[in-house]
């Protein structure tokens, strides 16, 4: 299957899943009320997060239409799929090298541009539109946060609930694994894993997932230790309900709020971690981290090339700040220990 078709299917599946999750949540008073409270408390942050998600999804939907790259007279672009985000820009929206935002001429040398005054955030060393590159980075940031969370959360839930509920030998083994992983500097482990697995979005997400689940696992284990002693769990046991049923019916639903809170808080940390990996030369191609890494030399140029760094770090800052605001609101709403009076 072509890569872009797979991407289209994933985007479709995500939209359908999100719709289904929303419909389900609307039927629950708790989730409906929580959603309303978050929207009321952090409308701008929520709007920014939704905007980023929309851009990421639009950049995942692609098709081939035979558009020609007039700049190069090339034919490769005719056979290459272009996403919805790509289609906001002309196929040949390129210059020869650096140009400042909205400039009419090249930054070094002063030669005329092909698209004078059109590059809102300027162009990079290869003449690529920086706004376009920044928007392309949204999908990668969401992929890093989303896919890695999908690895971290099941791992942490399985190990944390097993350790907390069953205790004894399984707790010892899982705790030993957690302690061992915790004793290895996570950045070194991450680099080693990427070296072994190779570079690529899936490999990097897997490596980040493997090194990030321990903290959440500890929280889940602690919560499960508390839950298993509660009356309704003890009653279910006394009535002879199987362990599997107790876990699914009584434990798992009661740690779901932790999953939501952790997902939101983990997300921003993961996106930042990728930026650090890119700085070390093992990040994902096209990410904001890579744009920031490329901009390192540009800051010491004379005259300075600032727009590449500003665009990537600005987008990173907006996403992380918005996610953190939303995350705080989610925690306030869902965590019983932090529920405010106005909820």
């Amino acid at each position: 299957m072509e890569g872009y078709i797979f991407s289209n299917l994933v985007a479709l599946a995500l939209v359908v899943s999100a719709g289904f999750a929303l419909a389900t949540a609307r039927r629950s008073d708790l989730w409906r009320e929580a959603g309303r409270t978050i929207a009321r408390r952090r409308p701008i942050a929520l709007g920014v997060v939704l905007l980023f998600i929309a851009i990421g999804l639009l950049d995942s939907v692609a098709w081939v239409d035979g558009a020609k790259d007039g700049a190069s007279g090339g034919t490769l672009s005719e056979t290459q799929p272009r996403t919805v985000v790509d289609r906001f820009f002309p196929a040949d929206f390129k210059e020869r090298s650096y140009s400042a935002p909205l400039a009419d001429a090249e930054f070094y040398g002063g030669a005329s541009l092909r698209y004078p005054g059109s590059h809102l955030l300027g162009t990079d060393i290869l003449g690529r539109d920086v706004l376009h590159l920044t928007l392309k980075g949204v999908r990668i940031a969401l992929l890093i946060g989303g896919l890695t969370s999908l690895i971290v959360i099941p791992l942490a839930l399985v190990f944390g609930i097993s350790a907390g509920y069953f205790g004894g030998r399984s707790d010892d083994v899982i705790f030993f694994i957690m302690s061992t992983l915790n004793s290895i500097p996570s950045l070194l482990l991450l680099i080693a894993l990427v070296m072994v697995l190779g570079r690529g979005p899936v490999q990097v997400c897997f490596a980040m997932g493997v090194t990030s689940w321990v903290g959440f696992c500890r929280v889940v284990r602690g919560e499960t230790l508390k839950l298993r002693e509660l009356d309704y769990v003890q009653a279910a046991r006394a009535l002879g309900v199987s362990n599997a049923r107790i876990l699914v019916r009584h434990i798992l639903p009661n740690v779901t709020h932790l999953v939501v809170i952790t997902f939101v808080l983990l997300f921003s940390g993961l996106v930042l971690s990728e930026a650090i990996l890119s700085y070390l030369g093992i990040g994902i191609d096209g990410s904001w981290g890579q744009m920031i890494d490329q901009a390192r030399d540009e800051l010491s140029r004379d005259p300075i090339v600032w727009w590449n760094l500003l665009a990537a770090s600005g987008a990173l800052f907006c996403l992380i700040l918005a996610v953190n605001f939303v995350g705080d609101a989610v925690r306030d709403v869902l965590d019983p220990r932090t529920v405010r009076e106005d909820v």
Partner: protein, 670 residues
Amino acid sequence: MKGLGVAAVAAICAALTACTNNPYPDADETEKVRYRALPAPLKTLDPAVSYTSLEHKITANVYETLLEYHYLKRPYTLMPALAEAVPEPRTLSDGRVAYTFRLRPGMRFQDDPAFALGEAGRTTREILASDIAFELSRIADPDVASPVFATFAKIDGFRAFSEQLKQRRESDPDFAAQRIDRQYAAIGGISGVRTPSAHELEIILSERYPQILYWFAMPFTTPVPWEAIAYYDGQEGRDFFKDHPISVGPFQIAEYRRRSLIVLTRNPNWYGALHPQWRAPGTVYPSEGEAEDVERGRLDADLVGKPLPFLDRIEFRLEKETIPAFNKFIQGYYDASGIIQESFDKVVLEGGLSPDMAKRGMLLEKSVDPTISYIGFNMRDPVVGAVAGERGRKLRQAMSSVIDVEEYTRIFNNGRGVAAQSPLPPGIYGYDPEYRNPFRVTDVERAKSLLAEAGYPGGVDPATGKPLHLSFDLGDTSARGRVRYLYFVNAWNQLGIDVEIVATNYNKFREKMREGAYQVFMWGWIADYPDPENFLFLLWGPMAREGGGVNSANFDDPRYNALFLEMKDMPNGPARAERIRAMRSILERERPWIELTHSENFALYHGWMKNVKPAGLSLPAAKYEDIDQVLRAELRSEWNRPVVWPAYALAAIALAIAVPGVVTFFRERQ
């Protein structure tokens, strides 16, 4: 009390006015001291091992060799140094080739306590032919792990000596514990290295290899006394030899702090200093050079024939960061500097010095290094290689025709670099400045038609109906590197070819190259010596990478191979030039490489530096350089006048705050 306050203020003012940013505490106005920045600590100064251009900045000036390059002549020309003459090859009756070097008698090593090992109380001794034979034995010694072993293996008996030494050490611990020179003697030395007399060294090669002479102008073949190796063994507080060179050159190491400072001072035992009456070529300033040298004042009458060296002292200071090092250069605290990319536009304007820099009296010296960077095709690959026949050839020609290397150097290297038309860079025999490779002229339309002729119209592979997919293997995973490589990928995309960058770390890249698992790659070469053989052998069939050689393209053209064998041993002349032209036309047509650039070095010197001529090869240049230290002191003081008013203002504010408090304190106490 009042008097004390006034004295304190006066002391602060005096301290402020005496402030200086001069990093050198010692006075350097009476001595000719040259200051240089080192970007990284040196790993070794052992001449048998040291192989980096950074280390050669020291070793080339400390270790004199039998031959050396003429300082000013280009193409590079050999002249005698420790030897009395450049030897001529003699073909022996059995086909082997011999060279006999005659050392000048009466030359001495620098003073060093190591020589007491040979005779109590002795601090130096005469340089003998056996010291060079000893160094050649060290290159063969497997424990030394010299990087140039393979080159010297052309000396008769070299490999056998190495193997015998290894076996004997493994089988006989007593032998391995013996002093190093005795071990070499017990094996019987290298059969192709003889010392018929104390001042004669005979080298016998098992095959013709005229380029061997260039290696006798490099620090690998400097005389090394056995006493130095035996004494500097790292035991009982003594240094290791790699950190304690014993000089035979114009300078000796006076101070060696690996992570901060290396100081060279004149070597009073250097043969130029001991025997000025000889007026040996390497001990007096040259009288010949190029027309440019006359224009630049490098052949002024007051210089020619003057005894060398001019400098009294050279200080190398570790400066890991380029920007502070460059700023110190601008302030006058380093005498020369490269141009960092970040400040290029501030320093260079339209190929010359910017008005600001010219006003400071700086000099800009440009030189093309004997290097080549290239994109190579794996000729054993079924798509891009020779296996694909005409189809592969046209594909390579098309890919070569869309790379605009001038644009590449403009964007990424500030225009530094000469667009390469063939493997041979300027300054190397066989380089033809008029030659234009038809496949190195950017012509997208022609490339498209070549691609169509190759059977990939519009870049589409008829076998799949999709764009032809190729992998571009690189040993650099950095984001900055990736942007450079994307430049080439974008160029190939114009043809409709889909080229994927496969970046791995350098070790993995080398592993892939060894295994032959690549299609397109990028690499480069820095010459060891100025001979076309040192470039053209990179495409010689028997040197194929899969066989462990340096021919990464695995190019194996019978006609090219035959021409190479004829050319490599020939003296420079019309016959050699004709063969080089024939080889060049084969490469032009077959396109195993897309030649990119010969790197260009832009060096900045302050106006007080004299007689400087940049060289891409390892030359003992420091002995020819001179400085006007008085002018330097004047300009430094003019450029670094302390701006003290902010300090005065700060002191005044501090006093204004403190005085009322102090007054109140004393008033209340009373």
